[in-house]
């Protein structure tokens, strides 16, 4: 059953990989300048996808999301030119500002990936402390009503 599941998962991943390669080949054949812009612009995401082996590849997804946001304006700008050439695309993307925006956005994605877990941990700890405080208050109220016999009974039933 587990084997079947993993085969299914592996199959879907292989299908997804294959569809990416097919899209890339199609793009290479139909719109080479766009393909060149994407390959150069999404280079940090490609590296992240290659090195991130964690389940769900959250780091790669983080980097990719912001990286793509940085690349998207230049793709749109490229598409607005009536005659798209590889030279025009190359010229456009190898400008220092364009590279800084695309790779900077990828870097922000990586920073977001690093910063989010400690923030969530702090939120969870604060919530737990507040709950412990509430429970202790409730216990003190019970002891006030029932006296020491409550503690004795709890100890006895605990033993």
């Amino acid at each position: 059953m587990a084997k079947g599941k993993s085969t299914k998962k592996g199959g879907r991943s292989a299908f997804s990989g294959l569809s990416v390669v097919a899209s890339a080949v199609l793009l290479f054949m139909v719109a080479l300048p766009t393909f060149v812009t994407l390959v150069v612009g999404l280079l940090p995401s490609l590296v992240a996808f290659i090195f991130d082996r964690s389940p769900g590849r959250t780091m790669a997804r983080c980097v990719f999301g912001l990286n793509f946001s940085g690349v998207a304006p230049y793709i749109l700008e490229l598409w607005q030119v009536p005659s798209q050439t590889v030279g025009g695309a190359t010229q456009q993307i190898f400008q220092p500002l364009a590279l800084s925006i695309m790779y900077g956005a990828a870097g922000l994605g990586w920073l977001l990936y690093l910063a989010m877990p400690p923030i969530v941990a702090n939120v969870l700890n604060l919530s737990a402390q507040r709950r412990v405080g509430e429970l202790r208050k409730k216990q003190r109220a019970l002891i006030k009503t029932w006296g020491d016999s409550l503690i004795k009974e709890v100890d006895r039933s605990g033993n």
Partner: protein, 714 residues
């Protein structure tokens, strides 16, 4: 072995060697070996009390402490002159019961206020403070017979003509016996020394007291049947009308010969003679009986109760008709003797008595089969021999306690030899219907309850019942009474033990709790007033219910208090223990009053602290604590008990407490989980944080693309 036997014998007879201390509670102990019948005026009774007041008012009577009437003494119970304050005619006397001896309740109830020809009139009975004793005791008030005592001891000559004995003595006494018989009672105090002339002309006699002492306790040994004479005086048993008829026979003999038969012989000699020859032959061989009395004396002194004369034969004799002759001695005599501790025995009953007296040395001839062979060959009694063989076979199955099994064998062998006789066990000797009185005597005279407990735990009475032949309603009744005794003795907790047996067996036994013993509490209704008095000087930490009081209540109260007794089994559980005690006392007050018991209520209130713990809620406890002093002031134990036993409130408290405990435990476990889940939470935070970052990144990408697309369109 012989030395051991001697020691045993000394031990057995040591009780009888105690010197009686007269006019002190228990001063009658031990049994009156020689009542003052022969010389009633003897003794320093006339100057014995030196109380400030010379008379004391008890109920409707005034008793004169300095006017002793020794002719009406009943064993250790002294008689005093008394005046009936409600009636002018006639005079009365008071018999002051020895508080260390139980009185006979059924007889007091039967005789009080009733006139019966042939029996002295019992006018009243009261439990009252008796100054010479410095404590309460039972006082019985009798109408003084007009003619004085029949046997004065002054002359050797008979005071009643032998030809008039029928009308003067036998007729009134037969009337008494018939009346007692109708109530299934036996007088057990019929003797010449207890006969009084009812009238100054001395035409009829009346019998004296029969209620102040245990049955047969005050009887000289010669008046007891061969079956009962070997029992200790206190354990001679309630008996039946057949025992009274035997005593009547001996009374006729004494009146006929002018002195007590066999008075020159000691008790042991009398027993030996009666066992060897039979009662009538024993008397006839030593005394000169008037010719006219030989026939009734022979008939009434027959040792076989089946053959003994009854009312039909006596009436026939009074009418001058001939009656069937009775066998003088039905006891079978062996062709050869059985020796035990240097003495030869020829009959089974005498051998049984010899074995009881020589307990240790009796075992050897039983174990080596000598007695069994003697029964088969010497007496030709195969039934007894077989029963003895069975008893010995059971000895082989005995467990680790071989010694106890050997004692049981000797006790059973004695019962095989003498199945009508008393239960005898290592010095203890009492008829089965006298076990309660014997226990009472032992407990109140320093011997303790151990001998009785041994007899019951070893189940000797059950063997006695098994040896009885034929159906007898009396024995059936006794079996019912003794059914629970073994269970009681084996239970260790309060409300059971020998104390329960004592109050179950002796109806008129006063409560022996040290707190109220002086008050002579016989009825359950007297208990709380006595405790109220005791509460005035009770120590702070003592409980108002001890083993004796618990057993007394369990026996005398009509309600079932087994639940409370069960709760008292564990004194370490203070809550249940105190609740059980308060509950018991509250039931007694509810049933028998009195309504106001302030001292006892305060005593109980002091001890209620553990019972308050029955509530868990602090608020409820505080409410109960404030209520207790108020209710204690009102002296009502029932209200005090209800305060801690409000079942609805208790149930509510309990269910709320259970909920609170569950709530507290849940909170505790949640806190524990929260405090101990730090690393897991970090792990979770990392996972969730990464997922959140990925989600945010994806959303930013989607928003950017959407914004750019929209900008391009518009």
């Amino acid at each position: 072995m012989a030395e051991q036997a001697e020691d045993q014998e000394q031990e057995v007879s040591s009780g009888a060697a105690r010197e009686p201390v007269m006019d002190a509670p228990g001063g009658g102990a031990p049994a009156p070996e020689e009542p003052d019948d022969a010389n009633p005026e003897a003794g320093p009774e006339n100057v014995e009390f030196s109380t400030g007041s010379k008379s004391i008012e008890i109920g409707n009577f005034r008793v004169f402490l300095d006017l002793r009437m020794p002719e009406f003494d009943m064993g250790p119970c002294k008689a005093y002159s008394a005046d009936n304050l409600r009636r002018d005619e006639g005079s009365a006397f008071a018999v002051v019961a020895d508080p260390a001896l139980p009185t006979r309740q059924e007889h007091i109830n039967f005789l009080t206020g009733m006139h019966m020809a042939g029996q002295i009139d019992l006018l009243d009975s009261e439990i009252a403070y008796w100054p010479p004793f410095g404590r309460n005791t039972m006082v019985l008030f009798y109408e003084k017979p007009a003619g004085g005592r029949v046997v004065t001891g002054e002359s050797k000559k008979a005071t009643i003509d032998e030809h008039e004995i029928g009308t003067v003595v036998i007729e009134p006494l037969m009337g008494v016996l018939q009346s007692f018989g109708e109530k299934n009672l036996a007088h057990r105090n019929i003797r010449a020394g207890n006969l009084f002339y009812a009238d100054p002309l001395r035409q009829k006699v009346v019998l004296g007291d029969c209620a102040a002492t245990p049955p047969g306790y005050a009887q000289p040994l010669v008046y007891e049947t061969t079956a009962r004479m070997s029992a200790d005086a206190a354990g001679r048993g309630s008996g039946t009308i057949m025992d009274d008829l035997y005593a009547l026979g001996m009374t006729l003999a004494e009146l006929g010969i002018g002195h007590r038969p066999l008075s020159k012989l000691g008790d042991q000699e009398i027993m030996d003679l009666k066992l060897a020859k039979g009662s009538f032959q024993a008397i006839a061989s030593q005394e000169r009986l008037p010719l006219v009395l030989i026939e009734p004396v022979r008939g009434l002194l027959c040792d076989d109760p089946e053959e003994r004369w009854g009312f039909a034969e006596l009436n026939a004799w009074l009418d001058g008709r001939r009656t069937k002759p009775v066998q003088a001695n039905s006891e079978k005599r062996a062709a050869r003797s059985q020796n035990l501790s240097g003495r030869d025995y020829y009959t089974v009953r005498s051998l049984a008595q010899g074995m009881a007296k020589n307990w240790v040395s009796a075992l050897a001839p039983l174990r080596d089969g000598t007695i069994e062979i003697w029964l088969r060959r010497g007496l030709g009694d195969n039934d007894r021999a077989k029963a003895l063989a069975d008893a010995m076979r059971q000895l082989q199955w005995a467990g680790a306690d071989k010694r106890a099994a050997e004692d049981v064998l000797v006790a059973r062998a004695i019962l095989i030899m003498d199945h009508q006789g008393p239960v005898r066990f290592k010095g203890f000797s009492a008829m089965v219907d006298g076990l309660g009185y014997m226990l009472s005597y032992d407990v109140q005279h320093g011997r303790g309850p151990q001998r009785f407990a041994d007899v019951i735990v070893r189940d000797i009475p059950a063997y006695w019942f098994g040896r009885q032949e034929g159906f007898s309603p009396e024995i059936q009744k006794l079996q019912q009474v003794y059914k629970n005794l073994r269970y009681y003795v084996q239970q260790q907790s309060a409300g059971y033990g020998y104390e329960r047996c004592l109050y179950a067996l002796v109806r008129n036994q006063h409560c022996l709790s040290p707190m109220i013993e002086q008050e002579y509490v016989v009825e359950i209704s007297q208990l709380l007033p006595a405790l109220e008095k005791a509460a005035e000087s009770a120590s702070e930490d003592s409980w108002p219910v001890d083993r004796h009081i618990a057993a007394f209540i369990a026996t005398r109260l009509e309600d079932d208090i087994e639940g409370q007794l069960m709760a008292m089994q564990n004194p370490s559980d203070e809550v249940e223990y105190s609740r059980a005690i308060i509950s018991m006392l509250a039931i007694v007050q509810w049933r028998h009053g009195p309504d106001n018991l302030q001292n006892l209520s305060h005593w109980v209130a002091r001890l209620m602290e553990p019972a308050i713990k029955v509530f868990h809620s602090k608020a409820r406890r505080e409410r109960v604590e404030t209520e207790i002093p108020k209710l204690a002031k009102r002296g009502n134990l029932v209200e005090l008990y209800n305060l801690i036993n409000d079942e609805q409130e208790r149930r509510k408290d309990q269910s709320e407490f259970v909920e609170a405990v569950a709530e507290y435990s849940e909170a505790e476990s949640e806190v524990f989980d929260l405090e101990s889940s730090g690393p897991a939470r970090l792990e979770l935070a990392e996972k969730v944080g990464q997922q959140a970052a990925a989600f945010a990144s994806t959303m930013i990408a989607l928003l950017t693309v959407s914004a750019l697309f929209l900008m391009h369109i518009f």
